[in-house]
Structures are given as structure tokens and as C-alpha cells.
Symmetry: C2
Amino acid sequence: MFKTNEYFEGEVMSIGFNPEKGPATIGVMAVGEYEFGTSQKEFMTVTSGKMLVKLPGTDQWKDFKENETFIVEANEKFQVNVKEEISYICFYK
Amino acid sequence: MFKTNEYFEGEVMSIGFNPEKGPATIGVMAVGEYEFGTSQKEFMTVTSGKMLVKLPGTDQWKDFKENETFIVEANEKFQVNVKEEISYICFYK
């Protein structure tokens, strides 16, 4: 029914689903620093905790907390720095 | 690292994690009607979509949308009616 994905040896785990707003994943991240690549435009919202994000084209870490969203275009890379276990929801366009 | 759980033959799937606010799960539900039992007090927040919930001691369905939370005491049962795939986050106290 639902598909789970693991990244970074299970330090990041997600479940894909299809709400009315379009394809999405929910996921959790362990403490650590990760780099992700996008294949579609991503709208990522923190659902618990906070994380530092270095968006494409910047060299500054920016804080994103619960209910805050950042957007990454397709075919870009972004880095996150997670200091407590966090959860997120990501929509793909 | 993270543990996934499946309920109702995979129609409901969750991932457990440990944010600073205390033990939690994120999860998704397929379209359907489900009854859950609690072993701890649960604080459940819809993170996408909406669902109908029949809380313990009531016989009325109540709508919960994105960012809305309902609370269920330990050792209670509650029913949900899901008309689109939804996601939630649940904290346990």
C-alpha cells in the first residue's frame, strides 16, 4: 500500500503517499548532516523540531522550525543539519 | 534506527521517533474507517488533509483538518473516517 524509503543507512526514513494536494512524503531524520538532491520541485515543511538548511546558491545556514516551509527547485542539491530528531512533510510538483 | 509499524494490512503506516518534545510517531492513512486503541495519552495532529474522528464517549463525527489536534486519554478507543489519504503526527504522554 504505502512505500517506505531509507536514506543514509536509515538515518532518514520516509513514507510516500498521495493526498489530494499531490504526491508527498512524510519523514523523520536522526541527528546529523545530510545532503539531498531533488528530481522535482520540493515544498518541505518541518512538522516537529527544527533544522538548519543550506539552500542551493547560498552558503548560509538558515533555521526552519515547526510549520515553516522551504522550497527547492528540481535538480538542485541542499544540505540540512539536524540537532534533534525531526519530522517533515514534503510535497512534489 | 527508526521503526515502522503497519496496521490494518498496511492501510495505516507509521514511523516512531524521539524528538525533544517526547516520543512520537508520524503516519499516513489510506481511505477507510479505522478504530484505534490507546495505551498512553495521545495528542494527534493532522499534518495534511482532513479526517473525521469519533472521540471516546461521543457518538458524533468531528472534522479535523491540517494543524488541528485532538487528544485521547490512555486505554480508550477512537474511530476515524478518512476520505482522502492523510498524514498525522502523534505525541505520547
